[in-house]
Symmetry: C2
Subunit: 97 residues, 2 copies
DNA sequence: AATTCAACTTTGCATTACAAAGTACTTTTA
DNA sequence: TAAAAGTACTTTGTAATGCAAAGTTGAATT
């Protein structure tokens, strides 16, 4: 039993980022407002977590207008999906044994 | 899909505390040195994480001498075991759906 | 022209994580 | 018996993080 937490990704330590990634795992894309309301966080806080995930290139951002209102939606990048899968596997390895 | 991260326990957000709790879930008791080496953290850092878990009354501490050396070992309190179980259930709910 | 809305960015503060150094107690070694 | 070593801390200091609140931007509505 050595180095059992080394494979946990620091990017997914926070509850908010865990929530974002989970939403994006099961939805092709989710918009800012939906994430904000689902996780019940302030918009500034959410923006900073999204920025952190974007910086790591774990998510893609699409800005457009829907019904003449700005709408920003997010989706997982392949790297993000992989990283999150690895993180979940590390979590399982940690607690399932 | 509402408030999906509300049931995650803040006490278990950090990798180190997640590691500590996991070790204690599968071992009746684990001593300081073993935790330190398994998680590869500095002793000061580990001590502070353990203190945080102790403050929440999630773990019990037993100090004794083994082979004439000081030995501090840790075990889960019932509350700690319950809280961690709830946390894991919340995690599963988050990612398994 | 003023207001509203979405999605930020900035600011500022409080908390946290961490390493490194220092401490206390005991045992071992010289 | 004095010095060194080992365990488990505690203290100190710093850098990173989390967060709310307020400010910003650009387009749409009134």
């Amino acid at each position: 039993m050595k180095n059992i937490i080394a494979h946990l990704d620091k990017a997914f330590e926070s509850r908010v980022r865990l929530g974002i990634m989970s939403m994006l795992m099961v939805n092709e894309s989710v918009d800012f407002k939906t994430i904000k309301e689902t996780l019940d966080v302030s918009d500034g806080n959410l923006a900073s977590h999204l920025a952190a995930l974007e910086k790591k290139e774990y998510i893609n951002i699409t800005k457009q207008f829907i019904e003449r209102k700005p709408n920003t939606s997010y989706s997982l990048s392949p790297a993000g999906r992989l990283a999150f899968k690895k993180h979940l596997e590390a979590l399982e390895a940690l607690i399932g044994k």
